[in-house]
């Protein structure tokens, strides 16, 4: 048998299937701290969170619900928020997505968009409140509103990107 060439019907590499989603989320979380950008306000959308939500909306059963714990820890290390913020909030988001995928039978594009936008708004708002517990709540929320709007508008783009990565993940040899 020719071991070098691809075999008909052989599934994609198991390692690639597992690593690609985790790697995209981790790289997206770490990317903002690697750009030479000194920001005066939260100007970039939370890239890691966007990929995290899109992967779960695209492949509901790919990850166990606790996957937000390690991925959130990684994001916390790079985002500047106290460790545990994203761990907690991302895991709660996973549970919310798991629940919604049981409740909504035929989830369409606009459902996905709405769910992702809502979760991003809630997570970013709560994270800002956790980071600055002493400051006035209204002012802290005002800081993240532009970021939330930008992120909500970027959800379809990230959905497409996730789809591209998913094609690569499942590509047969």
């Amino acid at each position: 048998m020719n071991r070098k060439g691809p075999r008909l019907g052989e599934p994609a590499s198991l390692w690639r299937m597992r690593i690609v989603p985790v790697a995209t989320v981790m790289a997206a979380s770490a990317l903002p701290l690697m750009l030479p950008l000194i920001a005066n306000s939260p100007v970039l959308p939370p890239l890691g969170l966007l990929f995290f939500l899109c992967w779960q909306l695209l492949r509901a059963e790919m990850w166990p619900v606790w996957v937000g714990l390690p991925l959130g820890l990684w994001d916390d290390l790079f985002s500047g928020a106290p460790v545990g913020t994203a761990m907690g909030l991302w895991t709660l988001a996973s549970i919310a997505i798991a629940y919604s995928s049981q409740r909504i039978y035929w989830r369409g594009f606009f459902h996905d968009w709405a769910i992702a936008a809502l979760l991003i708004a809630v997570i970013q708002a709560l994270a800002a409140l956790i980071v600055h517990p002493q400051a006035a709540a209204g002012r802290v929320l005002g800081l993240v509103v532009p970021q939330i709007i930008i992120s909500a508008l970027l959800v379809p783009l990230f959905m497409r990107l996730t789809g591209k990565f998913d094609n690569f993940r499942l590509k047969r040899r």
Binding site: V43, V83, G88, R139
Partner: protein, 304 residues
């Protein structure tokens, strides 16, 4: 997306248990994580080693991308500046004319000042930098304003040291790693700088708004003495920032103080200096006339 085939694990006990355990882990982990976050707000040094490790990972790539791209910074500022270019131009012309007049008046004072200082033999040793570096990158997705400084413990940087740019105060060092350190910028919501008005020494507190501006609150709330154009410098109270570092210029009066704009924009500053914290032992070390150290009473001879 089509609904996933079947989330219920069926009759298999093992599958049921593993799904249940996954939910238990998730819920406990989420609650523990949020508690941890609330705790580490109280104790910001927690998980310092992990954070240092992550920054050491990010720093080389940030260095490389900085050298390739240069510094992309102040996106929001650029957009705002474009919108308000016309009014700004008019205002700047007026300011320039005013400043020219003031400059002429000041130059004679400066010369006089220099002579007086020479007479008094005052040494300006308090501004000597401990180390110099540049800001590599900053957090840009969360509401925390932390920047990475290109030097760390290898050059003597430690937590609590003030960081200044050419134009004024940038922030203070939050923690130092082997080769990078994190700087809490002055514009962070949690960073409070004791300042005074340069003109008359009116004491006030500057706290960040999180969007690049500062809130100035005076310590006596009876009246609101600020006027647009007032320059604020550090007062040296509180023991971190040495006195007389330029901090901000008042832009607008507010109900409870004033809105000020930092003189040194960390997005535009290139090189920064790390200073010694303004603590009594450092002041003595530099031979400055600092506050007198409390005299230690000699131990009384024990009664027989």
């Amino acid at each position: 997306m089509v609904r996933p085939a079947n989330r219920r694990p069926g009759q298999s006990r093992k599958a049921q248990y593993s799904l249940f355990v996954a939910y238990v882990i998730a819920v406990t982990g989420a609650v523990a994580g949020l508690l941890l976050a609330l705790l580490s707000v109280v104790d910001p040094i927690g998980f310092a080693q992990l954070r240092v490790a992550s920054q050491e990972i990010a720093a080389p790539i940030a260095r490389a991308s900085r050298s390739v791209i240069g510094s992309i910074s102040g996106i929001d500022d650029n957009v705002g500046a474009y919108v308000s270019a016309g009014t700004q131009n008019r205002r700047l012309r007026k300011e320039l004319a005013d400043t020219r007049r003031q400059l002429v008046a000041t130059s004679s004072l400066q010369e006089e000042n220099r002579q007086l200082k020479a007479l008094l033999k005052l040494q300006e040793t308090d501004k000597t930098a401990l180390a110099n570096g540049y800001l590599l990158t900053s957090t840009s997705t969360s509401s925390k304003r932390i920047a990475l400084l290109s030097i760390g413990r290898n050059l003597g940087v430690a937590a609590g040291q003030p960081v200044i740019g050419a134009d004024g105060l940038i922030g203070r060092v939050l923690g130092a790693g082997p080769s990078v350190s994190q700087v809490l910028l002055m514009t962070d919501v949690d960073n409070i700088v004791p300042v005074r008005r340069a003109r008359d020494g009116l004491p006030a507190l500057a706290s960040g708004r999180g969007n690049g501006d500062l809130d100035i609150r005076t310590l006596n709330i009876a009246n609101n003495p600020f006027k647009p154009g007032d320059i604020l410098v550090t007062s040296g109270t509180g023991g971190i920032y040495p006195p007389n570092i330029p901090v901000a210029i008042v832009v607008r009066r507010q109900d409870d103080g004033a809105l000020a704009r930092p003189l040194a924009d960390p997005a535009k500053v290139d090189a920064v200096s790390v200073l010694r914290p303004y603590t009594p032992d450092n002041i003595e070390l530099q031979g400055l006339p600092g506050p007198a150290a409390p005299s230690v009473p000699s131990p009384a001879p024990a009664a027989p």
